[in-house]
């Protein structure tokens, strides 16, 4: 037995097929992990719960875009220029390091230092962890994206594996705007792989080179942001406000209080904090190990107006697992500027129409009607909404359904007039909660991992919430006998036919060792088939968390499972 709890947990995860190092028979690759048969189910249930949590109200939908991303998109988003870690190598032994890792003991927030500051601190006697010399190369920014090329040879184009799923959702903004019938607010979620070419990954599942992300982009009108009712969350939560702000040091409070005091700076951000907490608790994160930490001005991206990390506490201390940011109009505006697209805006209807002097293209109905037939109305509408008039006619006019039509000289007249303006186009703001799924899975496992004793021997139980347990029930025939196996198969088939439920059968080894295994992988209920089952159709149901057992019929078991939770039988 290892001395450290984290080592015992890691060893259990590996032994039981939860999380394992990848490519191990080839010596492994640091920063990559495999989810085995048990872990893949836990992760899938966490992701499914996440999607369900956000999409159940109808204003948020799921989309799915590629991981390969052309360079132009990531130049516009800032990742090509700014997604860097400072790195330095040892001139003596050639080992490469992240500069901030070397400075962890000499500076509180080494991540925030400039190249010059890092060089200066390194030269004050920091020695190489590998060879103990202190001869450092120049400090250089290293881009953290995995780069590749799309297409053949000289005709190929530069691309990267996406560093976040968010950009794909910004690309889909025009389709989302159509889907939601041009009405804000609305949101999109995307789950899937993100990539970050860490210089020296450490900390197991916390710092991966390829990871599962789950991000949400919520598009709002900044002049009328959604202000959901916060009073339904009455339990105070742990907050660490901006250390440079007026409220530094405060901690327990409700979302409503934090918003009214101006600590949380935006009502929609407050609402996402609350909903994030709900999700984490639902999938089994321990509430006392959750806190929200606000970024200070110097830590926050220049365009963001309010940023919070949701941190979870576990074997690695407090770890950022969710970032919730008011990204304002930064992303859509950057893409509008870089791509020239006119489709990244929304329409704001004025309460009262205004009169303005304006250049416009007046449609000539006698030409447009016959030319476009059923589409004519859409053409007239799009003409009236042109924000900039084209320099030359003919030109291509984009319609709101994404198609475009050719407008020629005889279809329009250029006019200047006082016109009644009913509204305006603007760039929506975005509130983004971004979740690191692997880090959340790690903390769910960490918080569930319970070490006890049984008959004088160490005994481990993974007290997973039933929402994310790998199986709902384990079915265990007491002996490997045809009669018992048949009943066990029947029970499994009936369990699996209940929507959303899945059971696992195990007929190997002693019943004690099988109980130990299902306790270690976190199955909440074990159903044992014994001699009596063959006589009277009853089975034993054992609860993982207190090992209490009751006897019931198979019908009763299945009924209870179909209508809720087996705990109602205890």
């Amino acid at each position: 037995m290892s001395e450290r709890r984290i080592d015992r947990l890691t060893s259990l995860l590996r032994r039981r097929g939860v999380v394992l190092p990848s490519f191990e028979i080839y010596g492994g690759v640091s920063g990559l992990v495999d989810y085995g048969p048990v872990g893949a189910r836990i992760k899938r249930k966490v992701v499914d719960s996440w999607i369900d949590h956000w999409t159940s109200q109808g204003d948020i939908v799921e989309v799915d875009s590629p991981t390969l991303t052309p360079e132009s998109v990531l130049v516009a988003s800032g990742h090509v220029g700014e997604f860097n870690d400072l790195m330095v190598s040892c001139n003596s032994c050639e080992s490469a390091f992240r500069a901030d890792h070397l400075l962890e003991n000499v500076h509180q927030n080494p991540d925030s230092l400039s190249v010059d500051e890092v060089s200066s601190l390194l030269s004050q006697g920091i020695s190489c962890p590998a060879c103990s010399e202190a001869k450092w190369s120049d400090v250089r920014p290293m881009n953290l994206m995995f780069s590749t090329r799309i297409g053949a040879m000289s005709r190929g184009r530069s691309a990267y594996m996406r560093p976040e799923t968010a950009q794909g959702m910004f690309m889909l903004y025009p389709a989302l705007f159509r889907h939601f019938k041009q009405k804000l607010p609305f949101g999109a979620v995307q789950t899937g792989k993100g990539y970050r070419n860490e210089i020296s990954p450490r900390q197991g599942m916390i710092r991966l080179r390829e990871f599962d992300m789950a991000e949400l982009e919520y598009f709002i009108d900044p002049e009328s942001p959604p202000c959901p009712e916060l009073s339904i969350w009455s339990t105070p939560v742990m907050m660490v406000p901006d250390p440079e702000g007026h409220h530094a040091g405060e901690c327990e409070m409700t979302y409503e209080d934090a918003l009214s005091k101006g600590i949380i700076r935006h009502p929609t951000v407050a609402w996402f904090l609350a909903r994030t907490m709900d999700f984490l608790v639902n999938v089994g994160v321990e509430p006392s190990k959750i806190r929200f930490r606000q970024h200070s001005g110097s830590e926050m991206a220049h365009y963001a107006e309010d940023c919070w990390d949701c941190e979870l506490h576990g074997e690695h201390g407090w770890v950022e697992c969710v970032g919730i940011a008011n990204r304002t109009c930064h992303d859509l505006e950057s893409h509008e500027r870089a791509s020239g697209s006119k489709l990244l805006r929304a329409w704001r209807q004025y309460d009262e129409p205004k009169n303005e002097v304006k250049d416009f293209l007046a449609p000539i109905s006698a030409v447009i009607g016959p030319a476009f037939k059923g589409q004519a109305g859409a053409v007239v509408e799009s003409l009236s909404q042109l924000t900039e008039l084209p320099e030359n006619i003919p030109f291509d006019l984009e319609l709101t359904d994404g198609s475009s039509v050719r407008i020629t000289e005889e279809m329009v007249t250029r006019r200047t007039d006082e016109v009644t303006v009913h509204g305006e186009w603007f760039t929506p703001h975005v509130i983004e909660p971004a979740f690191g799924i692997d880090r959340i899975v790690w903390h769910i496992l960490d918080h569930a991992f319970t070490e006890t004793e049984k008959e004088g021997e160490p005994y481990s139980v993974m007290r997973l919430n039933s929402r994310v347990a790998p199986y709902d029930v384990a079915v265990l025939p007491l002996f490997d006998k045809p009669g018992m196996l048949k009943i066990a198969h029947d029970v499994i088939t009936r369990v699996n036919s209940v929507p959303g439920r899945k059971g696992e059968m195990d007929s190997s080894k002693s019943i004690g060792r099988r109980y130990a295994r299902v306790d270690e992988i976190g199955v909440p209920w074990a159903v044992t088939i014994d001699h009596d089952s063959m006589e009277d159709g009853t089975v034993t149901v054992r609860r993982r968390d207190d090992q209490k057992q009751i006897r019931c019929s198979v019908d009763e078991l299945i009924d209870t499972l179909s209508n809720g939770d087996l705990s109602t039988m205890f």
Copy 2:
């Protein structure tokens, strides 16, 4: 309206947020697609159905491994050497082409030609499709993997984005073997992204550079392959046997017949053909548009013993959507050779123990017992199962749980003796069904897309199977009035609280346009809230496929939805 059905379908998919070109505001990247709000749900339901289909019997589990793959793994698998397309460029205009595409009209199976054969055929007057010249460069193989580097600069290592999910499952074989308590047969599934750097992608969703795969590796003992009962599938299916074999030209037959005639060469392969057909029909592929085509000897990978493509027919003709292959022991043996791992085997117990003269390491219990305590039994077992004795002692002995222990001189004696041998280690064979999810989604949409007329105008209905419809019901308040909206919200909330069900609300525009939209995205049921709903709590339920309507109470609606299918009400 476009003249071609495929263009009308593609335009609908784009307009309704099902499938769209990726990165379109930046000019797009061919071979990449986005799934919009409607398509992402359809794809997720197809993938979920697939996982459920294969994992419901307990012998197959899901795993999840990285897409980034180090070079050594893909050298061993053969992808670095052999995953190529022949390419050629025009010396006149510099356009690059896949050589087999240029030869489609002059050879039946241009994919199978060698470099010399291709060069020779090109020189016989094939001209460049771009500039019409006939000056060709040398024909060269181009590797189709996206390459990248893991880690920083000079210390980085070569890697590729995985061309298939299969290799990750072979890497996890030791964990799977443990999970299934060292007993064959068992299988693993994995879904996720695969990558193929096509030279010139064509055909929309058929030939993508990044695609969704779903693969299954089923590990068996070749001496006792699973032979499931095939007689339960009594309907003949369309087969196209090996054109070079004795049964060329035969077509309609049952799996049982095809196996007994020797057309299907392996009983487990026959079973996977049958289960593949079941899956496809379950998610809405039209049975008359499914056929199984057997590879000929020259088309089949050198190690494979029997390969079948499951082809679906649609707007692109017959397209391979699933490949089912008996890959024998090829993959695990290649990885054993390349990695030196001893963990890629299974144990076969003899019916009768055999006597053999054998070198072995006899454990010295008096030392091993105290040294390893509870593990001593496992150490003795692993010693007895060593296939090759180590040249030097001390050495590290791997135990079946994946851990290893140090064996020193005083723990063992080297002996030669006649021993009783109870079994042997061997490399399992693998049967692999590999599914292309995007191609399957395309054919589901193609087969569901139905063009009719309504009041003299063209009218489209997507007759999706309810298992893969984006929403179970659409809830449509007749007018955008508070009373109706409230009822609609209540209905949606109740629908969404039924496990596995999801509804969508739409209160925009006229009821006719909303019906048209839900018909186009394939929602099977529309529930309309009208004035009477506010009086008596009843709603109208409209069936997509025949537009028949009935009236029922909201309670009845929810009950029926909870217990099965709304069609029982009609």
